[in-house]
């Protein structure tokens, strides 16, 4: 199908973009989510404001935080030596986001703002306690990842706010990570995926993060499973208990891709795999 007619504004500054958003425009960044929706006429905006040429790109790390400009291409973030060194979980998760052709165009901010419940980047941001920067008519504000995702494709961003950056607190250098994803083809959107980051002290879990994509209306943290792991050695019994607790935290739906019960069961399987991968490598 072809998109319905719309007017097009190429924003020269973030202020111009915010002004257009305030007047009802939708923001176009890399276009990998929005343009399919336009082409299928799932969305029919009157005005599209193209933010893709705003200078909100680049990756920086200051010793405590990794800062990504919202318009950094997914592929650029994935292949950035800074990201790979500072937050290897993020770098590896990005290899699962769409195909290379999609990552060449799609942006980190676009993926977060699109807020697909099965998408990798929102779940990883949740796992890592990322903070999002949004610019609106009254200035900028920061929103914690845990407060950002409100439902499928719904976020805390107001209609006149533009996501401008992502701040990721650096995990300790000893943190290990594991990713287990179930999808039809490599790089398809996940049916269900689990992202873990754990820190071990003398084989005992000092810190654990578990985020699940594709098993609830938003990405979720498996807090009970994390709590259960802290202070424990990763015995088979502990792994099973954590996997069951992660599955219990889900709120999956039935859809064409998988029944809810399958997503819940797979959350347990994937949690165990991701934790084992984090320990064994």
């Amino acid at each position: 199908m072809k998109a319905a007619r719309f007017d097009y504004v190429r924003a020269a500054t973030a202020d111009i973009a915010v002004d257009a958003l305030a007047r009802g425009a939708v923001a176009l960044a890399g276009g990998q989510s929005l343009i399919p929706l336009l082409n299928t006429r799932s969305r029919r905006p009157e005005v599209v404001v193209d933010v893709s040429r705003l200078p909100l790109t680049g990756v920086e790390e200051d010793g405590s935080t990794l800062v990504l400009g919202a318009l950094t291409r997914l592929r650029a973030a994935e292949t950035s030596p800074v990201v790979r060194r500072a937050v290897p979980l993020l770098a590896e998760a990005l290899t699962h986001v769409g195909h290379v052709s999609v990552r060449n165009r799609g942006t980190v901010g676009g993926s977060v703002a699109h807020a697909d419940p099965a998408a990798e980047l929102p779940a990883v941001c949740l796992a890592l306690d990322a903070v999002f920067t949004a610019q609106g008519p009254g200035g900028t504000r920061e929103v914690d990842a845990r407060d950002f995702f409100r439902g499928p494709h719904r976020t805390a961003l107001a209609s006149d706010e533009l996501l401008t950056g992502i701040r990721v607190p650096l995990p300790p250098p000893t943190a290990r990570h594991g990713i287990a994803e179930l999808s039809r083809r490599p790089n398809d959107l996940a049916i269900t995926a689990v992202f873990t980051s754990i820190t071990l002290t003398d084989r005992v879990v000092a810190e654990a993060r578990i985020a699940v994509a594709g098993a609830a209306p938003t990405p979720i943290r498996a807090h009970a499973a994390e709590e259960l792991l802290r202070g424990q050695a990763l015995t088979p019994e502990v792994l099973t208990a954590a996997a069951d607790a992660a599955a219990a935290a889900t709120d999956p739906v039935d859809d064409v891709h998988a029944p809810a019960a399958y997503r819940r069961d797979m959350t347990a399987v994937l949690t165990r795999r991701a934790l084992r991968q984090a320990v064994v490598g």
Binding site: R5, Y8, R10, N39, T40, A76, S101
Partner: protein, 165 residues
């Protein structure tokens, strides 16, 4: 809107509506029928082209977004003769109806440029976003692997690609 792009080394200008995808712009406004339009929503990979040195699904880019960009379509891959990758596709019967071929050539060219020695698994992953309705994947993989073994995907006289994204 008036759009100017450099396609296969030539500067081209045409008028189009903002809703025009780059795929339709290349195919219908510039007459480059090697750009195959399949699903029009980023699922099949048929319309993949090189955009500023990196593959892109041209149905998921607005033509207006490509203003000032450098684009290579399948018409621009071969200059005086077929690229080694294209030769390999011919030798190994890696195409039947040919609908998916321009997109597959684009991603395989990018793969061999960025990773000159891909494993078979890496080749399969690289083309996993490109659907072949003839299900000729086996020969496509064989052809890419053979091009890998014979070194490179481009003609020696092909213009150098600009750096990635």
């Amino acid at each position: 809107m008036k759009i100017t792009v450099t396609v296969n080394g030539h500067t081209r200008t045409a008028d189009c509506e903002p809703r025009r995808t780059l795929a339709d712009f290349l195919r219908h406004d510039l007459g480059l029928t090697g750009v195959h339009v399949g699903c029009e929503h980023g699922a099949c990979g048929s319309c993949t082209v090189m955009l500023d040195g990196a593959t892109a699904r041209s149905c998921c880019v607005l033509a207006v977004q490509a203003e000032g960009s450098e684009i290579t379509t399948v018409e621009g891959l071969a200059t005086t003769s077929l690229t080694p990758l294209q030769e390999s596709f011919r030798r190994h019967h890696a195409l039947q109806c040919g609908f998916c071929t321009p997109g597959v050539l684009a991603v395989a060219t990018e793969l061999l440029r960025d990773n000159p020695s891909p494993t078979e698994a890496e080749i399969r992953t690289a083309i996993s976003g490109n659907l072949c309705r003839c299900t000729g994947y086996h020969n496509i993989v064989t052809a890419i692997a053979a091009a890998r073994d014979h070194g490179g995907s481009s003609n020696a006289d092909a213009p150098p690609q600009p750096p990635g994204t």
